[in-house]
């Protein structure tokens, strides 16, 4: 009986013996690349980034859009090349053509100089060179692309593995356009804002606007400039500034001060 009790005590002791094991060292062998993109708040899908040659001015035939990638996995003490591949934008959309609308991802310039993660880096910015081709007058083109797996990198997280660029020669409603401040969007109004302020009013600029005082200043200035421009147009026998569909261009928020 005593032995049985002793065995029970021993067994209980064994059960409570701690078993501390060394934690495994992080040893994930895969390396991948994620694009820094904006996701739609509702669908969680990548938002298209618009580029228009209108921002660059009439004289510009070639321009650069910068894209950022971040690495996933261990850093390396060597330069690591990566590859890009275009994918189709889907039905109803016109895909951009390599070396017509953008510099091919396979060009020596891209492969040797730009599509390389520098040694020790976890983040890299590379250029997409876009061309103002005459065919843009027929409509926008879409350049959707992903990482093409090579010996260094795989594609990254599902929501961050595609970049969606729309290249155009017309103005599009930029991401970050706040109707409360700027009113209903229209390309004539958009062009007026660019011309009068000297600012780009593109996705990057509009999403960066956070200082209320600055927004108030811009809208007041645009409203006052619009009064001057409309007065000049009237003197010349022209109608006040309107969109192609007849909507009057106005800045109600700026006019309220």
């Amino acid at each position: 009986m005593k032995n049985r009790k002793a065995i029970c005590v021993l067994l209980a002791s064994i059960v409570f013996v701690g078993c501390e094991k060394s934690l495994p060292v992080y040893d994930y062998p895969h390396n991948s690349l994620n694009f820094v993109v904006t996701l739609d708040e509702e669908t969680n899908e990548v938002v298209e980034k618009n580029y228009s040659f209108v921002y660059a001015g009439d004289a510009v035939e070639t321009d650069t859009i910068w894209v950022t990638v971040t690495t996933q996995g261990f850093l390396s003490d060597k330069n690591r090349p990566f590859l890009l591949q275009q994918i189709t934008a889907g039905e109803g959309k016109r895909d951009a053509l390599a070396d017509i609308h953008y510099e091919s991802f396979d060009s020596e310039q891209m492969l040797v100089h730009h599509l390389v993660i520098p040694a020790g880096a976890s983040k890299h910015k590379f250029p997409i060179v876009v061309y103002r081709d005459a065919s843009l007058s027929e409509g926008d083109v879409c350049l959707y692309f992903q990482i093409k797996p090579n010996e260094h990198f795989e594609q990254g997280l599902t929501n961050y593995r595609t970049v969606k660029l729309v290249i155009s020669n017309t103005l599009k409603r930029p991401e970050g356009w706040e109707e409360y401040y700027f009113g209903t969007y229209g390309p004539v109004k958009h062009k007026f804002m660019i011309d009068e302020t000297g600012l780009r009013w593109d996705d990057e600029f509009c999403t960066s606007l956070s200082d209320f005082g600055y927004i108030q200043y811009l809208t007041m200035m645009l409203h006052q400039r619009l009064q001057v421009v409309n007065a000049e147009r009237k003197k010349q026998g022209l109608d006040i500034l309107k969109e192609e569909d007849g909507r009057t261009v106005k800045f109600d928020f700026g006019a309220s001060f």
Binding site: N3, I7, L10, L11, I14, V17, G18, C19, E20, K21, S22, D211, F212, G213, Y214, Q216, Y217, L218, M220, M221, Q224, S256, F257
Partner: protein, 511 residues
């Protein structure tokens, strides 16, 4: 059977034996043979720029003879980590004293610091001990006094009745010299956004704003009187060549920059978020330097000296001219504005005007409410009723207690009741006969505030005395609650609070 069980038990123990490795090491730190005490465990809190000294004596328990020990004191500015940005040396150590006892005059920007004592033996064996140091400043609360110096420059004095603080020449104390040029105006405002050039982030602070006749504007945060905005960075654009900045005043939830070219508004900034604080553009309606806040409408009232018209600026910062149709406004083309105030006793906005042709002083009263705008009530010359006040070089509207307009004539203080058209002499206590009355201002922070005072200023041989009276029924009540003396000519007085919320003053927002 038992043997069998024992075998199973042993086997189980072997299976479940832990793979625990003992990573601990033998303690290697030796107990220092210099033990320092005498520094406060809780740290120190001190008001800067107030001639306060940090006095600490380090007590040392050691076997070294005292003659072999050397003491050095350091200050670590924790905010400096933003500027240095070096992980190995995140803080700058500034030597502030030597010897066992530290006697250090604290003239530091407010913030968190550490004071460190270093005790070194002859053999270079060194021991440190540190304590927290919290630095505040006296600039964040009290009555600022704008004055013209003997040299014709602009200075600020400060007095705080709550703490008994009297401080002269604050600008020289902080910036090394007064602001060049004759003073134009003084104003205080809460929650002004600005860009902190140390952290390069948007921030918010209560501010004191000083302008000069040389068209300089100097906006300082009240924590340490650091200049956070001036002519170069207060606008998104630039001042026009002939633009004269006057002040930044509070209008409900807006802060409004007033210049002769008009008003520029921005919403007050929250302390945690901050804004750039820069102002935009005017809507083209010009404004003079006089301004008053009207509580019912939450508007500020100003004067357009170019078109000779009333300007009403609402709580969103929208400025509009008055008109005959909407505001019952008479033609004002022959008047200049001398002062504007608000009288809470009857709710009138009071304009003190001077007729250009005759030089006579007129009073115009306006009533306003939230829903239906404002209406002119009366416009009348006052010489017949107020022969003394109408001669006064300065005016102040009684803010709360009575329907009075204060003025100075023949070195006496007068009050003109602009409703009942009666004038009477007011006799403040405590003034010597050889003092000259030069300043009067009824300042009303709010109904429950202890900082509502009828302030009367005198001068004698280049020195001024400001006496702060409780206002009872429009009259200075008894002896002054406190007074402030200094050197120079007083040009304005404004109260500032340490809080991020303050009800807007009634009466004039500027002297």
């Amino acid at each position: 059977m038992i043997r069998k069980k024992c075998n199973i038990l042993l086997f189980t123990i072997l299976m479940l034996s832990s793979c625990y490795s003992d990573d601990s090491t033998i303690a290697t730190e030796l107990i220092p043979d210099i033990a320092i005490s005498g520094l406060s465990e809780e740290g120190y809190s001190i008001i800067s720029y107030a001639d306060n000294y940090l006095d600490i004596t380090a007590d040392v328990n050691t076997n070294y003879p005292e003659s072999e020990l050397s003491y050095r004191w350091y200050l670590i500015d924790k905010m400096a980590e933003y500027a240095v940005g070096d992980e190995e040396h995140p803080y700058q150590w500034e030597a502030i004293g030597e010897g066992r006892t530290l006697h250090y005059n604290v003239r530091l920007a407010p913030g968190e610091y550490e004071v460190v004592v270093e005790v070194k033996a002859a053999n270079d064996y060194t021991v440190y001990r540190k304590a927290k140091l919290n630095v505040t400043t006296p600039f964040s609360e009290g009555f600022y006094i704008l004055k013209e110096t003997a040299g014709g420059n602009t200075e600020l004095d400060l007095c705080n009745p709550a703490t008994g603080l009297h401080m002269e020449d604050c600008l020289t104390a902080v910036h090394g010299q007064p602001l060049a040029g004759i003073p134009e105006a003084l104003s205080t405002t809460i929650s002004q956004g600005y860009i902190d050039d140390v952290t390069n982030t948007m921030a918010s602070s209560n501010i004191v704003t000083v302008t000069t006749k040389d068209r300089e504007i100097c906006v300082m945060r009240t924590s340490d009187l650091k200049v956070i905005m001036n002519n170069d960075n207060i606008l998104f654009t630039k001042f026009e060549d002939d633009e004269i900045p006057y002040s930044i005043v509070q209008c409900m939830w807006c802060n409004i920059l007033i210049t002769n070219k008009g008003v520029r508004s921005q919403y007050q900034s929250s302390l945690d978020k901050g804004e750039s604080g820069r102002f935009g553009i005017t809507n083209g309606i010009h404004t003079g330097r006089q301004v008053a806040y009207e509580r019912n409408s939450s508007c500020i009232f100003l004067w357009d000296p170019d078109t000779k018209n009333v300007v009403c600026c609402d709580y969103n910062g929208t400025a509009r001219h008055g008109s005959k149709e909407e505001n019952n406004l008479s033609t004002m083309s022959s008047y200049d504005c001398l002062q504007i105030g608000h009288c809470n006793a009857n709710g009138n906005v009071v304009y003190v005007l001077q007729q250009q042709r005759t030089g006579m002083v007129w009073v115009m009263t306006i009533t306003a409410n939230f829903s239906s705008g404002w209406q002119m009530q009366q416009l009348k010359p006052i010489k017949a009723y107020a022969p003394h006040v109408s001669q006064s070089p300065v005016f102040s509207v009684c803010a709360a207690e009575a329907t009075l307009l204060y003025g100075i004539d023949d070195n006496k203080l007068w009050g003109y009741d602009f409703v009942n058209n009666v004038e009477k002499e007011l006799k403040p206590e405590g003034m010597a006969e050889d003092e000259t009355i030069t300043y009067v201002s009824d300042q009303y922070v709010g109904g429950n505030s202890t900082n509502n005072y009828l302030i009367i200023g005198t001068e004698k041989e280049g020195h001024y005395t400001l006496r702060f009276y409780k206002n009872f029924g429009g009259q200075p009540d008894g002896k002054p609650v406190f007074s402030m003396t200094g050197i120079g000519h007083v040009r304005g007085v404004r109260y500032t609070t340490n809080d991020s919320f303050q009800s807007v003053e009634q009466g004039a927002l500027m002297d």
